[in-house]
Symmetry: D2
Subunit: 304 residues, 4 copies
């Protein structure tokens, strides 16, 4: 099947459905985005790019960056990391602190906020300048200087981060946080404020479709076994408390962000990024999820 | 790779590890089993069987039967079913009632006890004699009269089912349970007391590896799309509150039972059943999980 | 101060406030009651009765009966009882089952449903005919054959008791329930369907104002020390998850029921019963609570 | 009864029981205290002091100071305060953050840490120098310059306050915290590090036994009605998740601290302070609680 034709078909069908949601408004800067934007980019194993709609427009990747930072710590910490973060689906909203208390300071998985903060803390321990390292890493695996930080979003998130600060101190109370809270928070907020287009995001996920090898960086980013594990984590935990629903309906490993983006992977076939700002009540983009559902339906394959 | 060689290699490596666990003892009859038994059976898409160890010995499949009953209601109820049961991972033990209260009587997924009771209730509404229907169905998709009920186990579980009865009445309180509790419980307990060998279990899972088509029943059991969905559910919810761990380490859709068995699937390749009675603290067989982990490692593929 | 004058003043002031609530409707029979009824009865230590409004009209005492049954088991079981039921405020609705799971089958206190079921179970172990014993006991301490059972309410509650049955089986699962569930439930539902007027209810609470001595039964019902303890329990746990609010605003030990009644006690002064069917969202009568608040304000004393 | 004789009797009986507990060790400075110390002081309505044992030795009052700060904000904020803090018993440990999430940033009561932080925040809004104001206030109502701050304890608590900082930021996330977290924390930690003897503590609680009038300050500290309300709060919430047990066994309004002290009140009779460092598993002093139980038993009165 021709991928370009496929994603265009998906694009038009989704548009016809006139799906409605609500743009994220927990910070004013995210609420300003034009809600009608919608783009799809697909990258095959040879690195060929297919795109439709607003696939070249940069958007706020938000929580999708958690996949990138997890990848960065993965080969360094590997098994040690899993004494600090668990790998179980959460079943709770991404910013719940109650679960963290019940489980004595070990976040359920690296994709809820508490888990991502632990990973930002680990990066802060490892790197002099973790913010720049993250940008360089994503640029590297995308094969392009594609990453920019939206300063307004970054500053606004920093101002509205009481809940994340609370979580960081709570982790500290359980001895699961090593560095200065403010310092780690700066890194975390910076990674969430990254802007990329669908095409660059899809490129940055390409190594996960290719057993850990990035055709853009021209090197192995993680081992084959770890690539599989990151995919497994995305499948079970990538969509907050809607992860089961996504696995059930779509069946691809993926990660969503409240900016309306989704990065996903069909192992040994392609990586894909979809973006549209309007969200459902669980915080996932209504159009992006529908697009991926149609995509796997039309391809007649998913993971399963 | 030669499957027979592969599973023999796995079998011997696991045996060498001398893994220890604890045989289920919540009913005395399960505790009587010889804990050292261990078997693996693999069935490829052509229906060819590979086996090692105690792969022909019948054991109590317990919760694995939830996959069979889910399949039975799937094509009948389809979307309607999902108003009564959710598809999200639970993150709680399989017999937790607290979550059911928080979520107002809608079980998290069909593989926790509350969800399986809703499905047993649906089967009771549909069939005159659901117990016999379940047996016939499993025999059919295994291509063999392989199913027997262990009467001692059945009677003992019936005697120790206060918690399940509590859950059934709780579901009734939320109008999510239509039939007489005792009647449904008889069906549920009967399905849990089913005994099958690894080989027959692997055969009964074969259609899930083959887009819904059973080579033993020689017919489509569910649509391709529904086969994928059952696999997605097993991957995200099949191992109680260890489902994320299993997806992470093994990466196959599967379902475990407290009898020590696991049925799993590598879509478009094979189905596999492993059995060994000693369990870890989450209620999953230590040897069976290790065997499946080695299997996917050696094959160098999992779903991802 | 003249008690008759006092309660009339309170009665008229409350009526002027035109407080509104919602009659209990979880069973149709309770919803049928005329919502405008409102009565107050006060009984001093000499047994003299003061009354105003509908204070002679029988109403469904519902959960207030939990004080009577607790009293019945108190001297028999005493310290042993407290291995089966705790004495802490619940902070959750009266019919929550989640807390029971977290606390492994030991109900938080004897006034939530789970705790009252344990007490009904204890009475069933002790008495041949617990239903009649409860009626006889209340008649005895009220000095009158005042108790009747509303058969319609009883039968209707029996029909709608899935949640209580669930709790009873859940208690059984934790070995904290000895008798047949249905048998105990009959007792429990029967006690909830008791009808009494404010005057008889106030009389039946009189011994709690008088160090355990009932002027109507002309005997000590419980020891002085146990009378104090029942009062302490009512103060901390008598109003579901509004107990703190009631202690704060009113400051008297008391127990409410979803029929709209409240029985309360000013130790060494009087017992009092108030009834009006409209409830606030926590299930407590809006007028009854306001009346007791005004009463203690005007008397310028509460417990504290 | 002669109060001096009474408390001596209680003192000796408790000593004979050889009760054992565990000195608080969450900060090293508290763990250094001699665990065998034990003192009782009782102050009657005329201001006469009775004492036995180590009743003149200053100790760390810790959470008992929450009663003093609540009193300070009470007349200022009154009803407005109760939009920010609730008055229900918690049923959870004093430093639980989960409950705060379930109840959307409104602490259950002013005596759990989250509630006391809200009050420290309110004091910070009102006073230029809240730390000094608190000291002055307690000195005032004790009629003595009795308050000192243990600097070692203060600094150590400041170093170990991750959990309280987490709670403060969490409150901020729910718009229930107005000032700079560090500034409020300084006040909170300072109040917890106050040292007073039993005699001074009992004096500082005297107004609560006397309808709000302090014989030492020679003025009304709060209205009669508010004095009753503070007592009600102590009775239902003063002993963490053991409040029901204390009301049941002792029946006096009181507040405990992890330093081993308890301040309590018998309205219209006396105030009393007991101190002994060894704690039970709920964080309450084993000897202090036993002493108060014997005291009310011997007096044959409690509130009830």
């Amino acid at each position: 099947m021709d991928y370009q034709e496929l994603i265009e078909e998906v694009y038009h069908e989704v548009n016809k459905l006139e799906l409605k949601g609500k743009v994220a408004d927990y910070i004013p800067e995210l609420a300003k985005v034009n809600p009608d934007q919608f783009g799809i980019a697909l990258v095959d194993l040879e690195g060929k790019v297919y795109g439709v709609g607003d696939y070249k427009t940069p958007f706020s990747i938000q929580s999708i960056s958690k996949v990138h930072t997890l990848t960065m710590v993965f080969h360094v910490f590997n098994s040690k990391l899993w004494t600090r973060v668990n790998v179980e689906p959460s079943g709770n909203p991404f910013n719940s602190i109650a679960q963290l208390e019940f489980e004595k300071g070990i976040p359920r998985n690296p994709f809820i906020n508490a888990g991502a903060l632990v990973i930002a803390d680990a990066l802060t321990s490892k790197f002099e300048d973790p913010k720049t390292q993250i940008i360089n890493f994503i640029n590297d695996i995308s094969g392009d200087k594609c990453v920019s930080i939206n300063e307004e979003v970054r500053i606004s998130e920093l101002k509205h981060s009481e809940r994340n600060i609370a979580m960081a101190y709570f982790l500290k109370a359980y001895d699961n946080f090593d560095n200065d809270v403010q310092e780690v928070l700066e890194t975390y907020v910076s990674q969430c404020a990254i802007e990329m287009s669908c095409v660059d995001l899809a490129k940055s996920f390409s190594f996960l479709a290719n057993d850990g090898y990035s055709i853009f960086a021209k090197r192995n980013i993680v081992t084959e076994s770890n690539a599989r594990r990151i995919n497994a984590l995305m499948l079970t935990c990538g969509f907050y408390d809607e992860s089961g629903e996504f696995a059930y309906r779509v069946g691809l490993p993926g990660k969503s962000g409240v900016g309306g983006g989704v990065g996903a992977v069909m192992p040994h076939k392609f990586s894909v990024a979809v973006w549209s700002p309007e969200l459902n009540e669980k915080g996932n983009s209504v159009k992006s999820i529908k697009a991926l559902e149609l995509l796997t339906d039309k391809l007649k394959f998913s993971l399963f």
